[in-house]
């Protein structure tokens, strides 16, 4: 062992370090975000209290600025490969980067008033969000085990801190601690799987791993490696049975952060899972597919069944998010017959639409909480009277989550069903049937929220005056609403085309 290490060291000493060529355009989004994050930190150090109120705007602008190179890269259209294929910026990565940046922007909008009014450390919060989003940008491009792991930790560690941001609240402490312990545990399992893969192949690049294990079949060691890696990501995307942290963390964390975890962080987990499964395990479907099939079926069923019993709207959305993760896993269970592109584009389509509708629902919850000061579904009674606009918005987001046209969600589900049914395989059809039954179950608890908002009278003593919603929250609602509406109607086609560029 020691001898080998010394050998490697000796090799390193012999070869002089040559910086690999870097395509600066390809990493421009990350660099802009990095610079912006640093700028926010410095700005805060110089101006201290006086500058606080500008921090959210500045962070938001940083995200939008980082979107500019994403657009120029998209327009350019060339797939760029860095570091010998370990870091790739193609259209698939760009769609995801745009998704992360826009989600980040919406989350900043949602946080603005929450953080300013809540007596928290607010500028640090925005720096951590920037760091986490930076991790996601890196994740979208990483095609290498080390890159993926570093990105994942860069996403997660700030999130552990932010989950416990309401530090005088026991529930928030519980949220942060639970999330961290579970996250670290998951990382450990995943790392073990990755080390096995490295040991088997002597390489960390996904494509090299794929070709190295392509003809090795299903030896126990490969099976173990694949299963461990998938379990690790299963924690991140809160797949059943690794979902137990999610409801407690979601309930205890500050609400904007909950939205962040439920949407951006989950999407990043999916990207990582997708990259590893589709790139590295492309030729091992006999192990990965049945395992993901089980995860998917269990995730949607258990998530939905528990969601029915929830009385707190944040917990309900947490479990519904678990169920939605089940739908998103489904296309990955049939990648062999359809080809990895079809599965990946269904997942990406779902991620985009899911981000819009779920962020929208959280924004409504935050706006409503300014009046109710509670997340109980009962407290939404009679909302039609004191916040008619909010009621309609929530209705749209919930119907979208339930998959009812013409809102975005139906198209997301439609794509999943299409991929599941195309190959006409038993596993695909059976999973589609399970998903269809689950959608009806899900409609029930979404309708339950709407019933309270529309049909029930407000309890005695509720303030019936119209609710005022701060302008950042209005902007967040407007963005998510527009995306939810257009992805189900006029832009369904273009969205599908945009995710069709996934040339692996």
């Amino acid at each position: 062992m020691v001898a080998t290490l010394l050998g490697i060291l000796a090799q390193i000493e012999q070869a002089p370090f040559v910086r690999p060529a870097i395509d600066w355009h390809a990493v421009a989004p990350e660099l802009v975000l990095l610079a912006g994050g640093a700028l926010v930190t410095v700005f805060d150090l110089i101006f201290m209290e006086r500058g606080r109120k500008y921090i959210p705007t500045l962070t938001g602008l940083t995200f939008l600025a980082a979107l500019v190179p994403v657009l120029t890269l998209w327009d350019n259209g060339i797939a760029r490969s860095l570091f010998d294929g370990a870091y790739i910026t193609d259209r698939y990565a760009l769609v995801l980067k745009a998704l992360f940046l826009l989600s980040g922007y919406v989350i900043v909008l949602m946080s603005t008033n929450y953080m300013a009014e809540g007596d928290y450390y607010d500028s640090e919060y925005y720096q951590l969000i920037s760091a986490s989003i930076l991790g996601m940008l890196v994740m979208a491009s990483s095609r290498d085990l080390i890159g993926i792991f570093v990105a994942l930790e860069l996403i997660s560690i700030p999130a552990y801190l932010m989950a416990a941001w309401r530090k005088r609240d026991l529930k928030s402490n519980e949220a942060g601690l639970k999330y961290m312990l579970m996250g670290v545990f998951a990382s450990a399992i995943m790392l073990y799987g990755m080390s096995l893969l490295y040991g088997l192949t002597g390489d960390t690049k996904l494509r090299s791993i794929s070709s190295a294990i392509a003809d090795q079949g299903t030896t126990p060691i490969i099976t173990m490696a694949i299963i461990f890696v998938i379990i690790g990501f299963g924690f991140k995307v809160s797949a059943v049975p690794f979902h137990t942290w999610a409801p407690d963390t979601y309930e205890g964390a500050p609400t904007p952060l909950t939205a962040f975890l439920a949407v951006a962080s989950k999407a990043a987990g999916f990207v990582a899972l997708m990259n590893v499964v589709l790139y590295a395990f492309e030729f091992q479907p006999e192990i990965a597919e049945p395992f993901i099939w089980l995860l998917s079926a269990a995730t949607m069923t258990v998530g939905n069944l528990i969601a029915i019993r929830q009385t707190n709207v944040v917990r309900l959305l947490a479990y519904s998010g678990v169920a939605q993760a089940g739908y998103m896993l489904a296309p990955l269970a049939v990648y062999e017959v359809n080809g990895i592109e079809a599965s990946a584009s269904a997942v990406v389509t779902y991620l985009v639409i899911y981000a819009a509708m779920n962020l929208g629902a959280f924004a409504v919850i935050m706006a409503a909480a300014r009046r109710t000061r509670s997340g109980e579904i009962d407290s939404y009674r009679g909302m039609l009277n004191w916040a008619p606009g909010l009621t309609v918005l929530m209705t749209i987001f919930l119907f979208s989550l339930a998959g009812i046209p013409p809102f975005g969600g139906w198209f997301a589900k439609f794509e999943v069903f299409r991929v599941l049914l195309t190959g006409n395989t038993f596993s695909g059809v059976s999973l589609a049937v399970i998903a269809a039954v689950n959608s009806v179950v899900a409609a029930f608890y979404y309708l339950n929220i709407m019933k309270n908002m529309w049909f029930m009278d407000a309890p005695e003593g509720t303030d019936q005056s119209k609710l005022k919603i701060p302008s950042p929250l209005v902007a967040a609602l407007a963005i998510t609403l527009i995306v939810t509406l257009v992805t189900g109607t006029v832009l369904a086609g273009p969205l599908r085309n945009a995710t069709d560029f996934l040339a692996f």
Binding site: G389, T395, P405, W410, L447, W454, G493, R496
Partner: protein, 517 residues
């Protein structure tokens, strides 16, 4: 003008109400008058535009009615070949006209009849959204597009029942929603299955019909796919035994909701059979026809018996809908041009007549605050004009010759005498006899209803009630067009039959070629 109709006509028609709804969202809720004006104005503009288009369509002459006109066929979701494909032909024209007429009338009626708990803004916005959904369903020629519009209709109705409905509104609303959702989920599965068995190249209705006709899809597969559509459309119609949501929804819905539900929404189900299920899968339709016919006649008798047992006026009218839609379905089940023409006429007639009956029920409820038949009575004494209108509508509903109702029922019964080739004639003649007996029951329950509510002397509790007055101006304006049309189509049924006949023959395709002349 024609150029505009060809390029933008249908799109403008379908989405104008939605534009009105968006406009209303910007106006504060306090300004109810303005909301009513915008809502009514939008539907009137839509109606006028639609009127010009249909007039233009009429002017094209018989030979062109069976081809889709004002077609727009644009890319929508490329990868799955779903397109924005809309058009009007002889089958959809009468139903579009019906929709364009009924919605403004409902809004006129709403002018001083906003149901509890108020909130005119939201109420009217929902009606406008509903308007877009209904028009869209009638013009869509692509299954995915049709599905989207078909579902759009579901949401506003759910809220109208749930918020502005009667005491049992929560139960009625959720029942309505879950029944319809269940049906449309299976319908969507059928659409997708159809897409794949035909090779996954198109969702367009004419395109799929051609592919099924040209291909060699196993009959069993076709029958199964038809079954999914049957559930989706049959629940919406509603056919026995899926009708149980209807009495609850109708009874609990506000007057406006009931009228739209009866006049237009139920037609989406029957329209689905005529437009989608039968033209695309004619062979499967032949297999299913005896069963559809059976359920239709059970519906006729069951609905009529149900009516006789009701104690609530609105519930009685709701059950009469089940019976009347039974005639429509019987006409469809014959799969002959004659029967389907009768069915389309029946849809329009039922829309006019039952819509009117629900209007009257709403106005009676406004005055008496109850619809319990045994507490009512003497309407002719207290509100003679309304009493006579009720009498007129019951006559129309029971199928009195000379009024529109007759031309919906009588030809449907007649058509059952000789169904299309491949369907047992004996069986359908039995159905014919049963359906004819149903008309006797219909006369029974409708006249009995009239007798108990309009005749006699007012009961003591309402005898001196100052709230019980005769017709309001808004009621006259809203009802008169319907009443006039009931008479008009009673005397000139040929207008609608002419309009639909060529299209029906064309769409039935192989069924006509093999069968009757």
């Amino acid at each position: 003008m024609t150029e505009f109709f060809n390029d933008w006509g249908i799109t403008a028609l379908v989405f104008l109400p939605l534009v009105g709804a968006l406009l209303m969202m910007l106006v504060p809720a306090k300004d109810e008058e303005l909301h009513k004006t915008i809502a009514l104005g939008t539907t009137v503009i839509t109606g006028v535009l639609g009127g010009f288009m249909l007039w233009d369509f009429w002017g094209m002459g018989k030979a062109n009615w069976s081809t889709l006109q004002y077609v727009q066929d644009r890319t929508w979701i490329d990868v799955i070949n779903a397109r924005y494909f809309v058009g009007i032909d002889g089958i959809s024209a009468p139903l579009i006209a019906l929709t364009l007429l009924v919605v403004p009338l409902v809004l006129i009626y709403s002018w001083n009849h906003i149901p509890n708990p108020g909130n005119a803004k939201m109420f009217l916005i929902l009606i406008l959204v509903l308007h877009t959904g209904m028009l869209g369903s009638f013009v869509a020629q692509d299954l995915v597009l049709f599905f989207v519009f078909f579902e759009v209709v579901l949401l506003p109705m759910y809220f109208m029942i749930g918020v502005w409905g009667g005491e049992q509104r929560l139960y009625a609303a959720i029942k309505f929603f879950l029944f319809t959702l269940f049906g449309s989920a299976l319908m969507l599965v059928s659409f997708l299955a159809l897409y794949w068995v035909t090779g996954g190249t198109t969702f367009s209705i004419p395109g799929l019909a051609d592919q099924v006709a040209a291909g060699d899809i196993a009959l069993g597969t076709q029958v199964a796919i038809f079954g999914g559509m049957f559930l989706g459309f049959g629940i919406k119609v509603p056919m026995f035994p899926f009708h149980t949501w209807l009495p609850d929804a109708h009874t609990q819905a506000p007057t406006q909701g009931s009228v739209i539900l009866a006049a237009v929404l139920l037609k989406l189900g029957t329209y689905g059979f005529v437009r989608i299920a039968i033209p695309i899968l004619p062979e499967a339709a032949v297999e299913w026809a005896p069963w559809i016919g059976l359920l239709a006649v059970i519906g006729i008798i069951y609905g009529a018996l149900g009516c006789l047992a009701q104690t609530d006026m609105k519930r009685l009218i709701a059950f009469s809908s089940v019976a009347h839609m039974g005639y429509v379905m019987l006409g469809i089940a014959t799969l002959t041009p004659f029967g389907i023409n009768a069915a389309i006429f029946g849809m329009v007639a039922h829309g006019l007549i039952t819509g009117m009956l629900f209007f009257i029920a709403g106005s009676v409820k406004d005055r008496f605050h109850t619809l319990e038949i045994k507490r009512l009575g003497g309407l002719l004494v207290q509100a003679p004009k309304m009493g006579w209108i009720l009498g007129f509508c019951t006559m129309a509903s029971l199928g009195l010759p000379g009024l529109a109702g007759f031309w919906g029922e009588f030809p449907a019964i007649l058509a059952a005498y000789s169904p299309a080739e491949g369907i047992s004639t004996t069986l359908f003649r039995v159905y014919m006899v049963i359906a004819a007996l149903g008309t006797v029951l219909a006369a029974g329950y409708l006249l009995w209803l009239l007798q108990r509510t309009a005749f006699g002397t007012p009961s003591e509790e309402f005898a001196d009630d100052p709230e019980i007055v005769d017709m309001h101006a808004s009621e006259w304006i809203a009802w008169l067009p319907l009443l006039v049309l009931i008479v008009f189509f009673g005397f000139l049924p040929g207008i609608i039959f002419d309009l639909t006949d060529g299209t029906v023959v064309d769409r039935l395709g192989s069924l006509v070629a093999e069968g009757s002349p």
